[in-house]
Every structure is written in structure tokens, then in C-alpha cells.
Subunit: 150 residues, 2 copies
């Protein structure tokens, strides 16, 4: 973990907090190339009624068409689900920094088995924003909808 990692995760967390303030799911992401932010985004299920717009996906959408992702790092406040993991693999993103994997474990070993370098920060702020969301009325139901656990 580097100083840059902490700085970019703080930006991803800002995205998560913004989404929470807007009544959405508090998961944010930042795409970085060469120490510069390419794009940032957050979950848009509630805001846009869009089930594919997890934080990572919204960030990649906002980055627009890129020639390559092989020189990028993706920061996400929460461990990626299979949609986002598959996307990381298809896009050829070589490194992912994960804020926390307690509120959603994801499948980090799967990413690693396919050659992705994953750094797990176990960040208190990333956990806290999910805890506040899940404690809200309807938070649990919205969360289960978001990860399609029925």
C-alpha cells in the first residue's frame, strides 16, 4: 500500500459518501493511470434505476473509451462482485485496490488466480459508510437487491 493508494481510496470513499447522501448505495470507485485520475464514479442503482451501475462499472463508464487499461489501477471501496470481477478481467486491469471485504467478501482469490494484483486495505472509513447505510430503514433490502441475493 502506498500514499497514492490512500489518497485515491479517499476519493473513492468520497464518491461512496456522495451516493449515500443522495439515497443511493455507498460504493465508490476511481480509475487511475500514472498517478492521475482517469475517472471516478459510484453505484447508481437508486439514482439511475440502473442495476449494472455498481461503483466500478459507473467509474469505467465515465472513463469512456480507452485504448488500453493495462496501465491502470482500479480503486473500489468494497470488494468486487462477479460482474465487476469479470469486467476487471475482460478490461485487462492489472491491479485493484479494495477498501474492504467485510461487508461483501467478493472473490479476491478468483481475481488473483487470473493474474490480477489485489491490495486489500481493510479501511475503517469504507466499512463505516456501509455500516451507516445498512443501519438505515430499507438498507438491508436495498443491499440484497444490489447484489441480486434473493
Amino acid at each position: 500500500m502506498t500514499e497514492d493508494d490512500s489518497r485515491f481510496m479517499a476519493m473513492a470513499l468520497e464518491e461512496a459518501e456522495k451516493s449515500l447522501a443522495d439515497g443511493g448505495l455507498p460504493i465508490g470507485a476511481v480509475l487511475v493511470r500514472g498517478g492521475e485520475v482517469v475517472a471516478s464514479g459510484h453505484n447508481q442503482r437508486v439514482q439511475e434505476g440502473d442495476p449494472i451501475a455498481h461503483g466500478e462499472m459507473d467509474c469505467l463508464r465515465k472513463a469512456g473509451r480507452q485504448k488500453t487499461y493495462r496501465d491502470t489501477t482500479l480503486y473500489t471501496t468494497l470488494s468486487p462482485c462477479m460482474m465487476c470481477s469479470g469486467t476487471i478481467l475482460q478490461f485487462g486491469i492489472p491491479r485493484v485496490v479494495v477498501g474492504e471485504a467485510e461487508n461483501f467478501v467478493g472473490d479476491i482469490p478468483f481475481l488473483e488466480s487470473r493474474g490480477v494484483s489485489v491490495t486489500l486495505m481493510d479501511d475503517a472509513g469504507c466499512k463505516d459508510v456501509m455500516h451507516r447505510f445498512l443501519a438505515q430503514p430499507g438498507g438491508q433490502a436495498l443491499w440484497h437487491e444490489d447484489i441480486m441475493e434473493d
Copy 2:
């Protein structure tokens, strides 16, 4: 393969043809529940500048928020990439009907290993629309961009 499969694949192919006519990538998808179309969509990389909008993803976005996907079938003209495969798994879509897997092989055994029922139609129309696209000037380059093969 059923009569319904042929009918819904024809609709997915219509989406692909529409995208080709608009200068986009000719890959379409349809989400079906109980013999009724929930939504249809097509690749939007060119049209929306959106790298995550493969045909399957655009279709799922257009379907909006759904309570469950466990009673749905996803039709796609071309074998799903890892982004779309991961999405199929995360969403819990139990059955996928694939138009063709020649122009992109994808990883159907991966989907099957995770419990998805996959029907490969090897449809001449689905192959033909990709052939016409790839034969266009710039078609090959756009295709490699779309599957992030650099």
C-alpha cells in the same frame, strides 16, 4: 432449442442489425421471463461512448431494477465475454442462449461450471452480421477495442 428460442434470438439479431446500421457493434440481447420480453438492447460503445455497454449489459440496464433474475433467460447474438459472464453469474440468470461462438468464443464452459445452462444455436444470421461488421473499414480495430484486446 425451442421455437421461442428462435423467436427471441431473431429479436436479439434485430437489435444487432439496428446497431450496425447506426455505425455500432452488431451484438444484441433480449431478456425474457415467462415467454415475455422484459427488455432488449445492443452494444452502445460507439453510440454512447460507453465501454461497459455490451449487448447483454445494455439489455440488463434497460430492464431496470428487477426483484429477481432466477426466472429469466438471456438471449445474446454472440458468446458472452468475461464482463457479461460475470454479470450473468452475479445476477443469477439460470439460462443463456448464445447465437454464435465463432466470432468470439467466450468461455461457455466457465458459465456451465458455475451452474448456468447454455444453449449454443450456431445461428447463421448472428454470424453473418458480425462478418459484415468485421469486413467494414475499421471494423477489426473497433472489435478489438470492444473486447479490450490490445
